[in-house]
Every structure is written in structure tokens, then in C-alpha cells.
Symmetry: C2
Amino acid sequence: MAKSPALDGRTGTRRKRGAPTEASLLRRQRQTDEKRRVILGAALELFSSFGFHGTSVDQIAERADVSKGNLLYYFRSKEALYSTLLRELLTIWLQPLRAFDRDQDPAEAIRAYIRQKLIASRDNPAASRLFCIEVLQGAPVFGGELLANLKTLMAEKRAVIEHWITQGKLVNVAADHLIFLIWATTQHYADFSFQVKGLTGKTLGNTKFFNEVEQSLCDIVLGGIIPK
Amino acid sequence: MAKSPALDGRTGTRRKRGAPTEASLLRRQRQTDEKRRVILGAALELFSSFGFHGTSVDQIAERADVSKGNLLYYFRSKEALYSTLLRELLTIWLQPLRAFDRDQDPAEAIRAYIRQKLIASRDNPAASRLFCIEVLQGAPVFGGELLANLKTLMAEKRAVIEHWITQGKLVNVAADHLIFLIWATTQHYADFSFQVKGLTGKTLGNTKFFNEVEQSLCDIVLGGIIPK
DNA sequence: GTCTATAACGGGATAGAC
DNA sequence: GTCTATCCCGTTATAGAC
């Protein structure tokens, strides 16, 4: 694509035959990025449904509408594609937790966090499932990175919760287990959506159901930890 | 197996040379069962860690200390082994929920259920992970069976919870979400044990930690649903 | 950058001797 | 029942033309 020689638009100076303009370099870069993005999207769908070994490069290529050879031009290997994907999703995934702050009202902060996590499960169920599979298997690919990030965040948020407790704004709850509870329950609706859908007929995509889940979780959690 | 012709041992009639006695048939049966059990155990460990496609028949055979050919004598195919395994575990897995009964005190019943689920996660983390992987992928192998069993159980337990609510023994909580919450949180300590261990340094195998988890979960859940 | 062809490998399943 | 050898397929990754 865009291989044809051209003059540099801004300078107007004559360039050697075939040398790319700055603009065309940018355009090419954008197209490259876009293609990588499409491939990563296809990989996410498939890896999250069938696991690393249950997915072939061929299937990803077909879904991304590129040839297998071409896919392997953009990513060295299947494993490189997989780990790139995990790495890119990690930041997004941990985002909701960062908002949690000691200056907020605890009930409001926890309610907001539950809501954010549910939104993440609703809008990115594939990402949730991918992390679930990966962690379940001992996170062989990016366990180190994951834990390093989580440890820092966890320490911060544990401190926030314990601060609230010393202020008497929260009953004496084990911070770690409260956080695990929120992770487990919110991610459950993405990871076990097959089961949830089979038993209730609904998923988080249904607004009424989403509100019902949010309400129930907040009621139970806040009812259990906010002093009377 | 045991295809060879033989006379019925109970009648006491003379048997052909080489025909097995009833006792030897029983012995052989026991050995067969034992071997199938060993293979299923090895399969559980590996499938639950690496998934169906991430595990080779060779690896299972090696762990079970049989040859690959021999393994495939006991189970027609890799898939037959996998689905047999899921089927055998399903009964065990749903056991704790059956105990739940309307004649119990709600706080005691829920506390006991949380405890039983935590014990199951502690003692059978591999089974928990296997179900997690399977359900996460849409339960292609035994989704029908799983849902059929769960639907019945769920309907029963939903009725129990709603009975308690009408009696004023429980606040007006959505039964389904309460059950999902208990499943999600208790199974989390098995399925995400890599993460839990990485962040806290402990697993449910540690008695102190186990009690801490039980206490925290019960406090939050019961605090949120038992009327004051 | 993109494609086709193919190398190189591992896996599931079967055949057949013992 | 158990083992070894082998078939055959799908897969990843590379080579090389365009």
C-alpha cells in the first residue's frame, strides 16, 4: 500500500525516487497500527473463548481477515501475539481500581467501584475471561507483571480501607477479602455468563438485569460493612 | 472387558479350562476400576491446569503411569476421558447445595453453605478450576447436563430463600444473586489461588487463612441480609 | 507487505505382536 | 490387557516469489 514515490508536501524539495514522504510514513504507520489492532481484537475473541492451545493462528487470521503468513509478519509468533494482548489489556483492566480514594465517602466509593467493575464485565467480557483463564493456569505468561502491578495497587487500597476503619466509617472488615469479594462477584457475570444466562435467561447487556445485579451486590456488601 | 466365555459361578457347574472364576472376575473388575480412577485423577490434574487442548494424552498417561496405548484401551478417546471426568465430578460438586433446607435457621444455613463451599474449594481446587474453564468456554461438552441439574437445584433453593424472606427472617434480597455471590466468592479462592497466593502469601490450605476467609465472607454476607 | 508452498513437528488414534 | 510401531492429520513457522 502507498508505495508510489512522491514529493514531500511540506518542504516541496525534490526527493529521490521512491523515498517516502513524511505524510506517507505516518499514513503507513496508522495502517500498520490499525491492522495490529484488528488482529489483536480477533485474537482476544478466540483466545478468551478457546484458550491459547484451543485457538490456531489460522482461525485468528481468518477472523481478522488477513492471511496466516501476513499475521505472522505483524507478530513474530503466536505466543508473542498472546503476550502482547495480555499486556495491552492489563492497564485497562486495572483502571477501575485506581479511582478508589480515601477522600471519598466509603459507601459511595465502594458503590462506584462495584459499578465500574460491572461495566467492565459487561463491556469487556472477553478480556475478563482471558484473564480468568490465564490466572487460573498460574499466569505462566505474565504472572510476574500482573502480580507486580496488583501488589502495589492492593497495598494502596488496603490502606484506604483500613483508614476508613480507623475513622469508624467502616466496620472492622479484612480489606483483602472485601476486595476479593468485589472482584469475584463482578467478574462472575462475565466469566460464568453461560451459566448465569442459562439460569436466569439474562446477561449484563440487559439494562434491567444490570441494575438488579448492581443493586443486589451493593445492598449485600454495604449492608455488611457500613456501621449502623 | 471380561468378554471371555464362562459358566455362571453361582450354579457350581464345571467350568471350561481357563474360564475365570467369579472371584477372579471381581478382582479383575476392581483392578479395572482402580486403573480408571488413577487415569481420571491424572486427567483432572492436567486438564484443570492446562485445559483440554493444552493437555496431551501422552502427559496424562505418563502421570497415571500407563502407556498411551493402554490409556486408550480404558477410554476410547481423549474426549471420552474428558467428558467422563466432568460427569463424575458434577455430582460431587453440587453436593453442598443440596443440604440447604427451609427448616434450618437462615443464618446457620447460609453460614454452613459458605463453609461447605470453602471446604470444597480447599480440598478440590482442581475440580473447581476444571468447571471454571469448562463453563467459561460455554460448557460445550456438558452444558446441557450441567444446566439441567442446576436449574432444578436453583429453583428449589430460590424457593427456600424466598420462603425465609416472606417469614421476615431475611431482608428482601434477590435469591439468584445471593447464590451467585456465594459461588463466585468461594470458588475464587480455588480458581484464582495463584493471584490470592501472590497477594496474601496464603491459600485455603492454611487453617488460619481459611478461618479468616470464612469469617469475612459470613460477616459481610450475613451482615447484609439478616434483618436487624 | 502480502501471498503460496512447504518444512518440521507433535498429537490422537489404530494395528498388531505378545 | 499391555506394549511398540506407525499412520495421518493439524499446527506453527519459515522460505521465497511477487
